[in-house]
Amino acid sequence: MLILECPYCGVMADETDLHGGGEAHLKRFGPGSSDDDFETYLFHRKNPKGVHFERWRHVSGCGKWFHAARNTMTLEVYGTYSAQTTEPPKAIVNAVKKKHPEWEGWT
């Protein structure tokens, strides 16, 4: 069972309290962008075996969206953080790097 701490409520919520929102930190390519960029934005998602950044919604709690950094292989959670950001905060990146010095970064 995946258990994430909601950064807004401060409670440990398990995945039945949450709703997954897919990959985090997507950059939107809208009208005026090239077809390739638009296709990538719409359809191409990462599917890593290892460190992954995801969006989650505390659906039966506060109803807010937040971000989580976790490992898809070990199910380890590195941390959760606010949705009001376009990139993972330093503390989360450092937590991942500490565990995986060879990790190549979130982009």
Binding site: Y8, C9, V11, A13, G61, C62, K64
Partner: protein
């Protein structure tokens, strides 16, 4: 206007905890910037309760104020007073970006009474009820429906859900409180 009736009109069940529908309860949703002094003042004025912190519910002379999310409060007052409370709070928050709505008739409230009230709720919700203390509020789900609960005292849990699923919630609680279903004996 027709007489107001609560969802299950006070239905109750005696199991190893007593489950009862709480009857008419005034409930008000207040959304806005919770850090603002205006909101705290309005909450204090209508319920007598202090501003609740994250995950808390506070009690005042005229009602309770529960923290529902970073921008939402639940005010619990007397059912008959609710329209006046909405009026008073709206007036006092006129200058702010805030919303006050009477949701009393959209909700159902249950009381679970007994030493094992935490256990009865723990059977249904993914929340850690053992850490719950009076003064804390948790929004979660019971079985398939959203619900929030808090403890009035160590042996009384209050559970709030939508009125449309009141019968479902009551059936769940009844089942969880059935004699012979004790987990920790």
């Amino acid at each position: 206007m027709s007489n107001a009736v609560s969802a299950l009109q006070g239905a109750s069940f005696d199991g190893y905890c007593k489950v009862e529908e709480a009857g008419l309860t005034g409930m008000i949703t207040l959304r806005g910037e919770l850090a603002s002094a205006g909101v705290a003042k309005a909450v204090k004025a209508v319920t007598g309760a202090a501003m609740p912190g994250q995950g808390q519910i506070t009690e005042g002379a005229k009602g309770r104020a529960g923290w529902m999310s970073p921008d939402e409060l639940l005010l619990i007052v007397d059912h008959a007073d609710a329209p006046a409370v909405v009026q008073a709070a709206s007036t006092s928050l006129a200058g702010e970006h805030a919303l006050v709505v009477n949701v009393s008739d959209a909700r159902a409230v249950f009381r679970v009474k007994g030493a094992a009230c935490r256990e009865v709720i723990a059977k249904l919700a993914p929340a850690d009820t053992s850490v719950m203390q009076p003064g804390m509020l948790r929004r979660t789900r019971i079985a398939q429906i959203p619900a929030a609960f808090y403890l009035e005292d160590d042996e009384t849990a209050v559970l709030v859900c939508f009125r449309s699923v009141a019968q479902y919630a009551f059936d769940l609680l009844k089942d969880a409180a059935k004699p012979g279903g004790e987990v920790f004996g």
